[in-house]
C-alpha cells in the first residue's frame, strides 16, 4: 500500500529513473512560476533522488556553477543566478570565471535541461522569437545556451510547463536548439556526438521520448487521468506510440521517503503541494 503522493512527486520520481549512474547534469536557473517548477524544482529533486537511489555517482551542476550543492539545507529557493542564499549554500565546488572547469564542448555535461516557448516533432526548441525571423511578431530572450545544450550535451531533457497546440507545434518558428532534423550522420560529420540532442520531454500530460519514425516524438508514459486523445488535441503533430503508452509509474514508498525526508525536508522545492495535471497557465510574454 503506497502513501498518497502529489503529481509533482510522481513526475519527479519518473524523471529520476531516467538518469544513468555517472551522469553530469547541468541545470540553469529558470524564472516564472511554471518554468521554475519544471525547469528548476523537478530536475533538482529528481537528480538528488537519483543520487540517493540508483545513481550515486551523478553530479549536479546547479545554475551551471554550484557542484553537488546540499539542497536539503535550502530554506528558500534562490531566484537569481548568484543570489546570496545560493553563494553561501554548502557545495562540493564552485565553478568560477570563464573558461572554467567544465569542458562544455568536450562532452563533460551528459544531461542538460531546457525550457522553451515552442517544441516540435523532432524536439527542436525555440526560446528566441515567434513569427518571422527577420521581423518577429514576438521577440523572446534569445537563444541563450540552447544551441550548445542540443549538440554538445549528451542528452537534452526538455521541460515544458505547458502542453498545448500553441507550444507543441509541427515546426518551431526558430530553432534555438537543434532537434533530430539534424540527423545522427550530420552530427557525426560535424564532429559532434551523434547520440546528442533532445532525449526526453516532460510536460503536465506525461513523459515523451524520441523513438518515433526518424527520431520523432513518442509517448513514454501518460500522467494519471490523461488520455491519448487529450494529448492528440493538445499537440500540433502526431505523437508515436500514444495508444500503447503506460501510465506514468507510481513512486515507491522508499522513493517518497527519500524525497520528503532527505532530498527536500523543508518542501522548498514545493513538489508536495503541486497539481500539474491542469495545463499550467502561459507565462506572461
Amino acid at each position: 500500500m503506497t502513501s498518497e503522493f502529489s503529481i509533482g512527486e510522481q513526475v519527479t520520481v519518473a524523471l529520476s529513473r531516467q538518469f544513468r549512474d555517472g551522469d553530469t547534469c547541468f541545470t540553469g536557473l529558470t524564472t516564472g512560476p511554471g518554468a521554475v517548477l519544471f525547469g528548476t524544482c523537478i530536475p533538482l529533486a529528481a537528480m538528488a533522488l537519483a543520487q540517493q537511489t540508483h545513481a550515486p555517482n551523478l553530479t549536479i551542476l546547479f545554475a551551471g556553477w554550484s557542484v553537488n550543492p546540499q539542497l536539503s539545507r535550502l530554506t528558500r529557493l534562490p531566484d537569481l543566478e548568484f543570489a546570496n542564499e545560493f553563494m553561501s549554500m554548502p557545495a562540493e565546488a564552485h565553478i568560477t570565471g570563464y573558461p572554467n572547469s567544465i569542458g562544455y564542448k568536450r562532452g563533460d555535461v551528459t544531461v542538460g535541461f531546457s525550457v522553451g516557448a515552442q517544441v516540435d516533432r523532432y524536439g527542436s526548441l525555440n526560446s528566441t522569437l515567434i513569427g518571422d525571423i527577420a521581423l518577429p511578431k514576438v521577440r523572446l530572450v534569445g537563444p541563450i545556451l540552447q544551441p550548445l545544450h542540443f549538440t554538445h550535451f549528451g542528452r537534452e531533457f526538455v521541460m515544458m510547463p505547458r502542453h498545448d497546440s500553441l507550444t507543441f507545434v509541427e515546426s518551431v518558428d526558430y530553432r534555438s536548439g537543434a532537434g533530430h532534423q539534424l540527423t545522427r550522420e550530420e552530427r557525426a560529420a560535424a564532429g559532434l556526438n551523434p547520440d546528442a540532442g533532445p532525449a526526453l520531454v516532460v510536460t503536465p500530460l506525461g513523459l515523451f521520448a524520441f523513438d518515433g519514425p526518424g527520431r520523432s516524438m513518442s509517448a513514454l508514459s501518460l500522467n494519471p487521468g490523461v488520455t491519448p486523445d487529450q494529448v492528440r488535441e493538445n499537440t500540433g503533430f502526431e505523437v508515436a506510440g500514444l495508444d500503447e503508452a503506460p501510465t506514468t509509474a507510481e513512486p515507491t514508498e522508499e522513493e517518497l521517503r527519500i524525497l520528503r525526508t532527505s532530498v527536500d525536508p523543508n518542501n522548498v522545492l514545493g513538489l508536495r503541494d503541486v497539481d500539474i495535471s491542469a495545463v499550467a497557465p502561459r507565462e506572461k510574454a
Binding site: F82, G97, P136, V138, V141, G142, P143, E186, A190
Partner: protein, 302 residues
C-alpha cells in the same frame, strides 16, 4: 637640473567618460545578467543623447533595456536580452518587433568566446555546433565554412569588436589598477576578459582608493593600469542591478522599470524621472535615497 614628468592620473568624471563615446560607435558593455552593469555610465550616455550605437554583450540586462528604450541603439549583438526573474526586456522586445533595432543572435558560450577571441587578437574562430539551428539564418555574420584540416562543416564566428569597452568594478586607483573581490564568480570573470579584449577600456568604480591600499593585496588587482584609458568614481554605479560582494539588486526599482517598459510613453516618463531630469550620479543616488541603498547593501551581507 632635469625636470622629469610625473605619472598621469586617469581619474575623471562619469560625464567625461561617457563623452568619449560618439554617435555610431560600437560599445562593449560589462556585466552579466542583472549583475555588475555600468549603469551610472549608461545613464550619462542617455543624458548626452548619443545615437546609432552598436551594443555588444555576452548577455544583456537592464543596461541594454535603458539604452534601447532611450533610442540610442541601432544594433545589438548578444545571446540573451532579459531581466532574469523580472522577465523580458520589454523595450528591447518592442524595438525588435518594430524593426527599429537589429539584433545578432549568438549562443551564450559562443558570446563568451567572442570576447576571448578578441583578447587573443583573433578576428574569428570556428564553431561546429550551429548546424540544425536557426542562428546562421538570423545572424549572417556567422559564415558556413569547411575546416581545412579535417574537412568538417563548421561556421566562422566573428570575434567581438568594439571601439570602446566599459566595465564597472568594486575598487580602482587613479591610474586604472582595479581590484576584484576574493570570491570571484563568472560575471567578474567575463569582465576580466572584456578589459583585456579591446584597445580602449573605461572603468567606473564603486570606490577610488589610494595605490598604496592596492599594493597590500596585488593578487586581487586583476585589472592592471596599462589596460585602462580612464576611470571615474560611480558609487552604487550598478543600481538598480546587483554588484556582487557590494549590494543586491533593488527589486522594487526593477518592478518600476518593468512596469514602465509597457509603452514608449511610460518608459519615457521613467527616463525623465531617473535619467534626463537628474544631473549626475550623485543626484540619482539622492533620488533613490539612502534608505534604499543601505537596504540593498545589507541584503548582500552573508
Amino acid at each position: 637640473m632635469t625636470v622629469h614628468p610625473t605619472r598621469q592620473s586617469k581619474l575623471t568624471t562619469v560625464t567625461d567618460l561617457a563623452s568619449r563615446v560618439s554617435d555610431g560607435m560600437t560599445l562593449a558593455v560589462g556585466g552579466f545578467g542583472v549583475y555588475g552593469r555600468p549603469m551610472a555610465f549608461v545613464r550619462e550616455l542617455i543624458r548626452l543623447e548619443r545615437k546609432d550605437l552598436t551594443v555588444v554583450t555576452t548577455t544583456s540586462g537592464q543596461e541594454t533595456e535603458l539604452l534601447v528604450g532611450a533610442g540610442l541603439v541601432r544594433r545589438l549583438e548578444t545571446a540573451y536580452a532579459g531581466l532574469e526573474k523580472w522577465g523580458l526586456a520589454r523595450r528591447v522586445r518592442a524595438a525588435v518587433e518594430a524593426g527599429e533595432i537589429e539584433i545578432a543572435d549568438y549562443d551564450e558560450v559562443m558570446s563568451f568566446d567572442r570576447f576571448r577571441a578578441a583578447q587573443d587578437g583573433l578576428t574569428s574562430f570556428s564553431a561546429n555546433y550551429m548546424h540544425g539551428s536557426s542562428l546562421p539564418e538570423q545572424n549572417p555574420d556567422m559564415k558556413p565554412t569547411t575546416n581545412p584540416l579535417t574537412g568538417a562543416p563548421e561556421h566562422a564566428i566573428p570575434a567581438a569588436s568594439a571601439d570602446i569597452a566599459i566595465v564597472h568594478v568594486p575598487a580602482a586607483d587613479r591610474f586604472g589598477n582595479a581590484a576584484m573581490p576574493a570570491d570571484q564568480m563568472m560575471p567578474q570573470g567575463l569582465d576580466l576578459t572584456t578589459v583585456r579584449a579591446f584597445d580602449r577600456v573605461l572603468l567606473t568604480a564603486e570606490n577610488i582608493v589610494d595605490t598604496n591600499a592596492l599594493t597590500r593585496f596585488p593578487q586581487r588587482v586583476q585589472i592592471p593600469c596599462f589596460l585602462i584609458e580612464a576611470v571615474a568614481h560611480a558609487p552604487w554605479g550598478a543600481h538598480p542591478g546587483a554588484m556582487l560582494g557590494s549590494y543586491d539588486a533593488d527589486g522594487e526599482h526593477f518592478d518600476e522599470l518593468v512596469e514602465a517598459g509597457a509603452s514608449a510613453e511610460t518608459f519615457d516618463k521613467y527616463l525623465g524621472k531617473y535619467v534626463r531630469e537628474v544631473s549626475d550620479n550623485d543626484a540619482y543616488l539622492d533620488l533613490v535615497g539612502i534608505n534604499t541603498l543601505l537596504k540593498i547593501q545589507r541584503r548582500s551581507f552573508k
